[in-house]
């Protein structure tokens, strides 16, 4: 059984849109038409995430959120607010209550999938569990480095394996490549201009397609700060770039 998503909105239209958005994922979408129903379902079903509207009859989103956050059994459930109201005052008021994210209507289906996918592990329906690849299995490695010589060194180093190395020079190209076919591993140079390596990592982790792909940082041996930052951000590991490891 996949994760449970609870949609609390007085609009049946919005609940239908949300149910449709997650139809192709292995998850269960539960529905409630107001805060009272939402709290009851949350208590019974313990959903993995709640998508909560603000303006609702009977019990509105603010009160529902307050009650969720004051209940020891429910307070850890991540909440994404989905509301037609985006004024600064509303955002600040809600942020203080500890919501995970805030999405303003109108919204596109992809937006809600992406935001929910940042919090819970969404898997497309019908996918079999991924078999752990062995060292000698064919593996596709994406190298993101603006120095072609480094990509070539990696290709040469892996020439005797069954691995395929694809090189791109920029973050945008990397995202395009991942959109076509998700690689098994990604190596990113932290020397890409304008923090490009770190920015790319964040985008990869925000996407449901690539959030679980191992991502390795490549940097010069002396760039200790970059290595620490990479570790803190959640890179799988970091290692010196080939050109620096040979010197």
């Amino acid at each position: 059984m996949g994760p449970k998503i609870l949609s609390v909105d007085d609009s049946k239209t919005i609940r239908l849109i949300i149910a449709k958005a997650f139809k192709s994922f292995d998850c269960e979408v539960l529905e409630a038409a107001n805060g009272v129903e939402g709290l009851a379902i949350a208590t019974k079903e313990k959903p993995d995430i709640i998508i909560l509207d603000l303006t609702m009859p009977i019990m509105d989103g603010y009160e529902t959120l307050t009650k969720l956050k004051s209940d020891p059994d429910l307070k850890s459930i991540p909440v994404i607010m989905l509301t037609a109201e985006s004024g600064k005052e509303n955002v600040l008021r809600i942020a203080k209550q500890g919501v995970r994210d805030y999405l303003v209507k109108p919204f596109k289906e992809e937006m809600i999938i992406e935001r929910v996918g940042r919090v819970i592990d969404l898997k497309p329906k019908g996918t079999t569990p991924v078999k752990q690849k062995r060292f000698d299995d064919p593996i596709k490695v994406l190298v993101v480095d603006d120095k072609p010589a480094i990509t070539e060194q990696i290709k040469t180093g892996m020439a005797d394996t069954t691995w395929t190395v694809v090189g791109v020079a920029q973050g945008g190209e990397a995202l395009d490549t991942c959109a076509l076919a998700v690689p098994d591993a990604i190596l990113i140079s932290l020397t890409l201009p304008e923090n490009g390596g770190f920015n790319l990592f964040q985008l990869l982790r925000a996407s449901t397609k690539t959030k679980s792909v191992p991502v390795f940082a490549m940097c010069v041996k002396t760039a200790v700060d970059d290595q620490v930052k990479a570790q803190q951000m959640g890179f799988t590991s970091s290692s010196p770039s080939p050109s620096t490891s040979t010197t």
């Binding site: 239209t13 609702m56 005052e89 919204f107």
Partner: protein
């Protein structure tokens, strides 16, 4: 206080249609009001706060309301389960438009709260303002030549 209400409403309507229905909607010249005599659906949401209050109506033919519903929910016309589904969709469109309006007012320090949406259905009705209330009428046309009228009634009166 809110002299550019027309601009705010126009931008809210075009954004909601573009994002939720993936369709462009063009502004028509003022005064091109909807023709009565055929079934219509009006969705309204009110807003109320310390310094301003009002109500915004979105209305269109029942045919266009069904098309909006189909587009919004990704359904075929024969999959719509009665008027309730259409009412909810039109009400939600009105809610999103007024929500956008509210957010822009809020960013200017004009706070207000929204009402829940309500729906009026009929073949020959008009929406009129009481005295001391400003009335703004905006007309739009969809790519498939359907008309949408947005009427905003605001108090205190606008400066024009």
């Amino acid at each position: 206080m809110i002299d550019d209400l027309d601009d705010m409403v126009q931008s809210a309507v075009t954004e909601v249609f573009s994002t939720m229905l993936n369709t462009k909607i063009q502004v028509e010249p003022p005064g091109a009001a909807i023709a009565n005599g055929e079934p219509h659906v009006a969705g309204s949401v009110g807003f109320s706060g310390g310094s301003v209050c009002g109500v915004v109506y979105l209305y269109c033919s029942a045919v266009f309301a069904r098309r909006i519903t189909c587009n919004l929910l990704g359904l075929q016309d024969n999959e719509i389960e009665g008027d309730e589904m259409v009412n909810d969709a039109v009400g939600e469109m009105a809610n999103m438009v007024v929500g956008q309006l509210k957010s822009r007012l809020c960013d200017r320090g004009i706070t207000c709260v929204l009402t829940v949406p309500s729906i009026v259905r009929g073949t020959n009705f008009t929406i009129e303002a009481v005295s001391s209330t400003s009335r703004r009428l905006l007309a739009f046309r969809s790519q498939d030549n359907q008309q949408l009228v947005v009427e905003a009634l605001v108090k205190p009166p606008l400066s024009n």
